[in-house]
Amino acid sequence: MKNKKMKIARAESDLSQEKLAAIVGVTRQTINLIEAGNYNPSLKLCTAICKALNKTLDDLFWEE
């Protein structure tokens, strides 16, 4: 399932996939796959993404 919340939060922070990837220490492809819902990140990576985007885990990764 696509992670639209993460994509929106990234756009709000004015970060490209590449910049976000550089901040959290992964490749751009990994960020792309997470947003497309084709990769399940570890809790560590989820937390790093939340910190980079200034959001909580619920904001970005909770499924409604």
Binding site: A21, A22, G25, V26, T27, Q29, T30, L33, Y39, P41, S42, K44, L45
Partner: protein, 144 residues
């Protein structure tokens, strides 16, 4: 895997490979200079090239990372590391199968070598190592 751990592991690989390569090369020199009888001295020289190549490849990888630190993300990205580990695990399974077939073939085709020839014992040892080493490493990593 963190960047520091990756660099440390690469340096260890280079060190160990160079030591093994040097040991084989020195063995060849000793056999050649002292004219000691051995089946084929040149085999030591040839074998020393393999760990030397491994050391060179690791060294080039380290230089590439130092020159362009962003490259390190390709070694530390959790998704890529997981993909690499999965590929390594599948390769190990295939190699275990091939080792088993080699051992089986050797034992059936040359039964007189069973328990006698060093080649048979080496084949058996490598097969057993490939079967038990993953369990051993898992136990060691749990302790660390």
């Amino acid at each position: 895997m963190s960047a520091e751990k990756l660099v440390k592991e690469t340096k260890w690989t280079i060190g160990v490979s160079l030591v093994v390569s040097a040991a084989l090369f020195i063995t060849w020199i000793i056999f050649e200079t002292n004219d000691l009888p051995f089946s084929e001295n040149k085999a030591f020289l040839a074998l020393s090239l393999i760990p030397l190549s491994a050391a060179l490849a690791s060294f080039l990888k380290l230089m590439k990372i130092k020159k362009n630190p962003e490259m390190i993300v390709h070694e530390t990205d959790e998704r890529l590391v997981a993909e690499k580990n999965e590929a390594d695990a599948k390769t190990l399974k295939i190699l275990q199968g091939l080792l088993f077939l080699s051992y089986l073939g050797y034992t059936f085709i040359i039964p007189e070598d069973t328990f006698r020839s060093i080649g048979w014992w080496i084949t058996l040892s490598v097969l057993l190592f490939s079967l038990f080493a993953p369990i051993l490493f898992r136990h060691i990593m749990k302790e660390i």
